[in-house]
């Protein structure tokens, strides 16, 4: 007991480095679960958003009920209910990872569905009308004109949802998925080095979420709309596009002596 207390008192950061393989293994599952759940939730969320806007007097309210139901249940309760409740009651063979991904996907599809719907509805109706007026069909108008604009609008809130997903994925530790919190919990209980272990856990989550934050900022900047012929374009894609535009200008202004924008 005294030895343990002494060991506890001395801060030993190298303990984390010695056990880094355990954390790496946990991060791997945290990322897999977060990414898979998020991609599935985004696809399902887009379907939810589209059905929610359906003019049908049946489909719209049903989807609204789906959204309200899954937003209302605490995630932790939902995870336990699915894995221990439903799976046992109906004798389903479902792994903890599958159950975790299922619950995260369903719950996040409700949140993302509402974000996507508000993004789509934020695009002015004049955009759809202009697309129709040049002869595009309804589906073309939606996928070529409305949706790309909605996508830009929802980048920041969707990025926040992904940060939330990384954090919420820790809740599946309760059903035994070997993700970051679970491996930390087991390691800390085995070695009693609670401070070192949980401080490392905090730092790793911080690194993951901050990384996503900067990734979202980068995507936002990447999608910024700048004049291709005036701005200093950095991406190879934008540079190739700018070169194509210059060739077009030269071919039309005849003679190729046309003054083009400042070269990159």
């Amino acid at each position: 007991m005294t030895a343990m207390a002494l060991a506890q008192a001395v801060f030993r950061p190298e303990f984390i480095w010695d056990n880094r393989h355990i954390f790496v293994g946990g991060v791997k599952w945290t990322l897999v679960i977060s990414l898979v759940s998020f991609v599935l939730a985004a696809v399902l969320g887009l379907v939810v958003a589209l059905l929610r806007m359906s003019p049908s007097p049946i489909i719209g309210p049903i989807v609204a009920a789906y959204i309200n139901l899954f937003r209302a249940i605490p995630l932790l309760v939902f995870v336990l209910f699915v894995y221990y409740g439903i799976a046992i009651q109906f004798n389903l063979t479902i792994t903890a990872i599958q159950a975790g991904i299922l619950t995260l996907t369903v719950q996040y599809s409700a949140w993302l569905g509402e974000i996507f719907r508000s993004g789509i509805q934020a695009v002015p109706d004049g955009q759809r009308q202009a697309a129709l007026s040049v002869g595009m069909g309804r589906a073309q108008a939606f996928f070529r004109v409305t949706l790309p604009q909605a996508a830009r609008i929802v980048i920041p809130p969707t990025g926040n949802m992904f940060i939330g997903m990384i954090k919420d994925s820790s809740l599946v530790y309760l059903i035994g998925v070997e993700e970051l919190l679970r491996v930390s919990y087991v390691l800390a209980n085995r070695t009693f080095r609670y401070f070192e272990v949980y401080m490392a856990t905090v730092l790793v989550y911080l690194i993951l979420t901050t990384g996503v934050y900067f990734l979202v900022k980068y995507i936002e900047r990447r999608f910024a709309l700048v004049d291709l012929l005036v701005s200093k374009t950095r991406s190879p894609f934008a540079r190739r596009k700018a070169a194509r535009l210059r060739r077009l200008q030269e071919s039309l202004s005849g003679g190729g002596s046309a003054p083009s924008g400042p070269s990159v």
Binding site: Q127, Q129, L132, S133, V134, L245, Q249
Partner: protein, 262 residues
């Protein structure tokens, strides 16, 4: 040379509206509109706000489905038809077929903000007419050249002035080679110093013989280009005539409106 070069009256009908009615809720916006537009004619529609001018254009290209009435365009009937005339009515065309041949310029430009000026103009060529990217972009650039914006083909709409945006919007419609161009108050959202460049493009277009229907408050343009001039109020056509309407209106309501704005 402006109007003379594109004198109307060769009789070939391009567009004909018959008995168009449209309500929004309890608001009866169009109350039976009949209008014929001949090849090469320039029709100017003016009137107070809320008189149904914009709605008339939007029903004519079927962005709004009329409650009743018929839109005849280039040999085909569109719209719900006229009550009681069901049997004799020819088959109804699809709104999309009509819109591919009717250009529309909006008051708020409605350019697609997420793509460049060039892509705005090329989009329908590629997605509707199925042109290859290189062909579509060359075609689009030549139309942007025509409206004086060759140097702006790589700009996004947010980097363009209102006048430039509206010229891109005109090019976006023209590139589809429409049989008729409709303008819904094309200069109303512009700063005064930018009105001229848009009207300049419209004048050139009128001189080239394009069939046009223009809702506008620009009486200078109307007097100069309007072969058929229509005063609308409260959902009906009050008066229709040649250029003399601006100096000698028959209807007191027309005269009162003109007195108020001139």
């Amino acid at each position: 040379m402006t109007a003379a070069a594109a004198a109307p009256g060769n009789g070939d009908l391009v567009l004909r509206l018959r008995g168009i009615h449209k309500s929004f809720g309890t608001n009866h916006v169009l109350r039976g509109i009949d209008l014929s537009v001949g090849q090469g004619q320039h029709v100017v529609i003016f009137g107070p706000s809320g008189s149904g001018k914009s709605t008339l254009l939007r029903t004519a290209n079927l962005l709004e489905q009329p409650d009743s009435g018929s839109v005849w365009f280039d040999g085909k009937e569109y719209g719900p038809g006229i009550p009681g005339a069901g049997g004799e009515d020819p088959p109804r065309g699809k709104p999309r077929d009509l819109r591919q041949q009717v250009g529309m310029v909006f008051q708020q430009f409605n350019l697609f903000p997420h793509i460049t000026a060039l892509e705005n103009v090329a989009l329908a060529l590629r997605r509707v007419k199925g042109a290859k990217r290189a062909e579509a972009e060359l075609e689009a650039a030549s139309y942007l050249d025509q409206v004086g914006l060759l140097d702006k083909i790589g700009a996004y709409p947010s980097q363009l002035s209102g006048g430039q945006q509206q010229r891109v919007a005109i090019a976006r419609s023209l590139v589809m080679e429409p049989k008729i161009m409709m303008f819904d108050e094309p200069t109303s959202a512009l700063d005064p110093e930018l009105v001229g460049e848009v009207l300049g493009v419209m004048r050139t277009l009128a001189e080239s013989g394009m069939t046009m229907v223009v809702v506008t408050h620009e009486m200078g343009f109307a007097r100069e280009a309007g072969d058929v001039n229509i005063f609308m109020d409260e959902g009906v056509i009050v008066e229709q005539g040649g250029r003399e309407i601006y100096s000698h209106a028959r209807e007191p309501r027309t005269q009162a409106f003109l007195d108020a704005i001139l």
